[in-house]
Amino acid sequence: MNAWIRSVLMPVQGTAYAGRVDHLYLFLIYLSAFFFLLVAGLTGYFVIRYRRRGPAERTPNITHHHGLEIAWTLIPLAIVMYVFFWGFHSYADLTVSPADALEIQVTAKKWLWQFEYPNGVRTINELHVPLGKPVKLVMTSEDVIHGFFVPTFRIKQDVVPNTYTQLWFQATVPGMHQLECTQYCGQGHSTMLAKIFVDDEKKYADWLATGGDLGKNMPLAQFGAMLYDIRGCKTCHSVDGVRGQGPSFKGIWGHPVKLSDGKSVMVDENYVRESILFPQAKIVAGFEPIMPTFQGLLREREIQALMEFVKAQK
């Protein structure tokens, strides 16, 4: 029964902490069900039992009952205090991270997640963590407030500019977990998603050693397509000609494009490269200068791959 309710209402339990949250959640489900049935049952019963039987019907003059009033003040009070302490007790776990936790820096910006590992490896919209090891996230934002939410871990924390907030978790289920932005942040809010990969010790170590070297054996254009997907380009740049926050990639390669200062420039290797690394340098007319820089976030081969990808969008 419990397992069934949980499977219907809640996502997978990706951490031990999730189990504790679900425990309280289930208790509250039962508690709510009890009180709802009490309210609905009594209402329904009274409506039927005491339905009006004639226009002249009289009713007894019952004004109050101290015992009942006290009972339905104190009993709910005791119950909600119990719920408060339970909620507080489980929450306390979340606020204190273990001292040996692996610390990962998280930077949120419109509309992508950037992760930095202690050894300097940086990734975008993709977080790899070791299975069964505590991980501590130190988070900040570069523009507006974002929200870091992993449903399967039952954790959430707003990411605030100019402030560091933190979260920690210890994943117990290998595989992919979804990360979502929960603090409204504008046009790309609902696409500000990332994937968390929980890998076993060895796989994680391998991944970290290669610096998350994706697409090592992939052809450049195919690798570029993958980067376009996971590095957040597609949030603003479409490939089908639809206007997004940024210009579409469709058919731009090799053609001149008009800039906001009235000049125009040829879309070639140099321009695309400059746009990735110094996005404010040349803005296409009609668009806002809102693209974040990817300097230090993309390796040379990745930039080349993206160029190949743009080139392929005829």
Binding site: L9, T63, W72, V83, W86, F149, P151, T182, Q187
Partner: protein
């Protein structure tokens, strides 16, 4: 007999310059119903957009503007003034046996300020729209494009309208009760309005200054809420919720107040635990000022504040629970008749119970962290605001409609519409509890495929809801087209407002009533009126 407040004095101008609380109430009613229609259209558009992931009928930018407008219109233009300014304005002086509210001109000013605020809000919609969400969180709201300044100014202006209504009601309750009407002889509706007015007066000014600070931040970059200039965006959330949490009680207390009138009337029985209900209204008003931080459990607020606010939040559950139990006890051994107002009151009981109980999930820290900013919250507050306040508003509207316009509506269609609204509401929003628990964040234009079936369910529910409201609009309009047929007291109710004719004369009572007994004294009620409309 024909000489009533609707017909005398005559002329359009006499309406625009009236200081009669009944006419102002009616003008408010028309305005808020229009706002409700507008907000409702936006709601339907949102649900259609969410029918499947990705682009359906609008772009992400448009979607963000639409949900902002839905929230802002429903809250500032509809729910907050709905019961106090429209229904309350009409019946509160009648219930007290007064000729008018204490400051009739201030009352009219409040209405015109409301209209001005509404026009500003509409011009903000037209001039670029606002995409901040109704919460205006900084630094998003201070950096985004669009007419945020105009919209915040509109909300600032609307705040004054709300404050003036509150001041008026407090002074009226203190100074204009009929001879013999002591504090504990007042109808519970008046107690609820009084508690509401306290919150309106004490909380709204803080919203005013908060909105002004947003405007200042946008125009001058004053820095207080701007993290990049050394300000604190979380402080903004404190400012905002210091008003906006009590505002939740500005919305629900009047709803509870109506239920306290309707249930005794249609159970034909004295209210159970009068004092407990009266005091719980005041208790809610008091505690409502201490719990705002539960909107900020994951905001980066200190853990200490989280714990304090979680604790205080649970305390506010108690007076609400007390009221629900007292209403149910009122029905015990009653003589219950299920006319439209009572149907809505029972809808209120069931839906508000769900709304209140799901509040426990959100008050408890551990579960809130998971559920915060998801559809669970969306469902929760729709159960409280719509399942609670709007159902109560509809109960009150149907209860006092004959009094206001002197005409009965079609009871048959009213029941059909009540049933559709109840079913449609549950289909729309119960599914959202599941969506939220499973991790669907709110304010999402796009979503993961796994959530689609529940979104479809919810959207279909919204159509049923819309149908219910269309039917209501139809029969209420039809009732206005026919000659006056309502008796003074169609429901056999006992308040002073039922002792004058329907609709009441210009100065409410032919002779000033004197109160000699307790309220809700249903024991000697004559059954005469029940046949009149049967």
């Amino acid at each position: 007999m024909t000489d009533n407040y609707l017909s005398s004095p005559r002329g359009f101008k006499s309406w625009l310059t009236t200081v009669d609380h009944k006419r102002i109430g009616v003008m408010y009613l028309a305005s808020i119903l229009f706002a409700f229609l507008l907000g409702g259209i936006f709601a339907i558009l949102i649900r259609i957009e969410l029918l499947k992931p990705g682009h359906n009928i609008m772009s992400a930018d448009t979607y963000n503007r639409v949900f902002t407008l839905h929230g802002a219109i429903m809250i500032f233009l509809f729910i907050i003034p709905s019961i106090p300014a429209a229904l309350g304005n009409f019946v509160l002086p009648l219930m007290l046996g007064a000729k008018d509210v204490a400051f009739p001109r201030l009352n009219l000013a409040s209405y015109y300020i409301y209209v001005a605020g509404a026009l500003l809000a509409i011009s903000a919609m037209v001039a670029g729209g606002v995409d901040t969400g109704w919460t205006f969180y900084t630094p998003y709201s201070t950096t985004t494009n669009g007419s945020v300044g105009l919209m915040t100014f509109a909300a600032f202006v609307l705040g004054f309208s709300s404050i003036f209504t509150g001041i008026n009601f407090i002074a009226t309750v203190h100074k204009l009760r009929a001879p013999g009407m002591g504090w504990f002889r007042m109808p519970l509706f008046v107690w609820g309005m009084y508690a509401t007015a306290i919150i309106q007066v004490l909380a709204t000014p803080v919203l005013g200054i908060t909105l002004l600070l947003i405007i200042m931040e946008r125009v001058f970059s004053v820095g207080i809420f701007n993290p990049q200039l050394g300000g604190d965006p979380i402080l903004f959330q404190h400012f905002f919720w210091f008003y906006s949490h009590p505002a939740v009680y500005i919305m629900i207390l009047p709803g509870m107040a109506i239920i306290s009138e309707v249930i005794p009337c249609f159970s034909r029985k004295t209210i159970f635990g009068y004092k407990a209900i009266a005091y719980s209204s005041i208790a809610i008003a008091g505690v409502s000022f201490l719990v705002w931080g539960h909107h900020m459990f994951v905001s980066g607020q200190s853990s200490l504040a989280n714990v304090i606010f979680s604790f205080l939040t649970f305390l506010v559950a108690i007076p609400s629970g007390v009221k629900v139990f007292n209403w149910i006890a009122t029905m015990y051994k009653g003589s219950i008749s299920l006319e439209a107002p009572m149907l809505y009151a029972i809808s209120f009981l069931l839906l508000f119970a769900i709304g209140g109980l799901t509040g426990l999930f959100l008050g408890a820290l551990a579960t809130d962290v998971h559920l915060h900013d998801t559809y669970f919250v969306v469902a929760h507050f729709h159960f409280v605001m719509m399942g609670g306040t709007v159902m109560a508003f509809l109960a009150g509207l149907h209860f006092w409609w004959p009094k206001m316009f002197g005409r009965m509506y079609s009871e048959k269609w009213a029941r059909v519409s009540a049933a559709l609204i109840f079913i449609g509401f549950n289909v729309t929003f119960l599914s959202q509890f599941v969506l939220g628990s499973r991790g669907m964040p709110r304010r999402y234009y796009n979503y993961l495929d796994q959530f689609q079936p529940l979104h479809v369910f919810s959207t279909v529910g919204s159509w049923v809801l819309a149908l219910g409201f269309l039917i209501m609009a139809g029969y209420l309009w039809a009732s206005l087209r026919k000659p006056m047929d309502a008796p003074a007291n169609p429901w056999g109710a006992v308040g002073l407002e039922w002792q004058t004719s329907s609709p009441p004369p210009e100065h409410n009572f032919e002779t000033v009533p004197t109160v000699t007994g307790p309220p809700y004294d249903y024991s000697p009620v004559e059954p005469e009126p029940a046949e009149v409309h049967a």
